[in-house]
Amino acid sequence: MTGLSLDNIALERGERRIASGISARVAAGEALLLQGPNGSGKSTLLRVIAGLLPAAEGAIAWDGADVARDREAHRARLCHLGHQDALKAGLTAQENLAFWASFHGGGRDAEAALKIFGLARLADRPARTLSAGQKRRLALSRLALSTAPLWLLDEPVTALDTEARAAFIALLQRHLAAGGLAIIATHEPLAIAARVLQLGAAS
């Protein structure tokens, strides 16, 4: 089995069970959309897959091998984009992106990544002066720097305008076409062919 498989995962938040029995498989080139009402565990599931949180039950495997056995290799193969944009208000757009580029050691060009979401014009603006949508675009530009095969995206298109959405979909499709995987928590319909994993309501 190549790709990522979730086997009977249960999620807990603050010692409270919020979801259980989650099983899914994502193969190379596939996207999986996580849907469900607020509090159903979409973000928590993404954090569990990233390894930030332990799963209450169940196992996560990559190419059939439990990811808990080699955390370092697992971290290297994923790119997690959370609710928050991970931007520093005191740095310019370009500096923010260049920092993450050299922190992750990808060697990809931050300048080119800025262009994908039409941010070249804003490169020298401090992040504190950017609007919510511009910040989100800057955060998404991090994806263009990443060489990781597994993208874990939490509400990626929040606050984006139609143009930026189209740019995001194009970036995502390029990633999938190159054999990448994506797991995306979203409330909004995305114009890509993807399976949907419905998470239940919080009981």
Binding site: A50, L52, R75, H104
Partner: protein, 222 residues
């Protein structure tokens, strides 16, 4: 290594741009120290005797001031998640943050210390030992402080908790630092013992605190 330097550089750039933080630390150090002449009274002898001790303890308190922001910003804006998931071992991330704290807080304090010592009428022979003691003590303050900042991350009133948690841990650092100054001023006194103990403490903290800090950070992002 490039990730370590990138993080160090980012933190220094941020603290330089938000220059107010570094200045507040130094100004607090001087302003709090200058209270002592007023409280103790105008006897030059009394002041001279406590001067280096005041410099050391005010440096410890001033180093605390900027600590609660050390990881708080990264925690709130999601950067800490990315650091935990990044290729740099979290222990080295903690070390880079402590080093950045020392460069933006410990070093300015070291530079401002002679000025405070002058205002407190410190004996001229004590300047050298005092600076040596501070140079060895401030890295320990940053390493311990980083651990405290990581442990109190995400808790309400984290700043107060951090102070209560870290001040007792600063005591051994102050004892050895004061030992260096006192022994150097005695006739026939030899500060080597205290000097070696403080160096040993620094190295011990360098070996332990990054691991403890990293464990605390992993808990914080859960």
């Amino acid at each position: 290594m490039s990730a370590f330097l990138a993080l160090l550089r980012r933190d220094l750039v941020l603290s330089y741009r938000q220059g107010i933080d570094a200045w507040v630390v130094v100004l607090f150090f001087l302003a709090a120290g200058i209270l002592f002449p007023f409280a103790i009274g105008p006897l030059p002898d009394a002041l001279m005797r406590v001067s280096t001790g005041v410099v050391l303890s005010m440096a410890a308190l001033a180093a605390l001031l900027s600590l609660d922001r050390l990881y708080q910003g990264d925690f709130e804006d999601g950067s800490l998640d990315q650091m935990v998931l990044g290729p740099l071992p979290l222990e080295l991330t903690a070390l880079a943050k402590a080093l950045a704290h020392w460069l933006s807080t410990g070093l300015p304090l070291l530079i401002a210390a002679p000025l405070l010592a002058l205002m407190l009428n410190a004996p001229s022979a004590s300047y050298g030992p005092m600076l040596l003691a501070l140079a060895l003590a401030t890295p320990a303050l940053s390493l311990l402080g980083g651990l405290g900042a990581a442990l109190t991350l995400g808790s309400r009133r984290g700043g107060i908790l951090l102070t209560l948690l870290i001040l007792p841990l600063y005591v051994p650092v102050l004892i050895f630092a004061a030992g260096i100054i006192r022994r150097s001023q005695l006739l026939a006194g030899d500060p080597t013992g205290a000097l070696l103990l403080l160096c040993g403490l620094d190295l011990g903290l360098l070996a332990i605190t990054p691991w403890a800090t990293a464990a605390a950070l992993r808990q914080a992002v859960r």
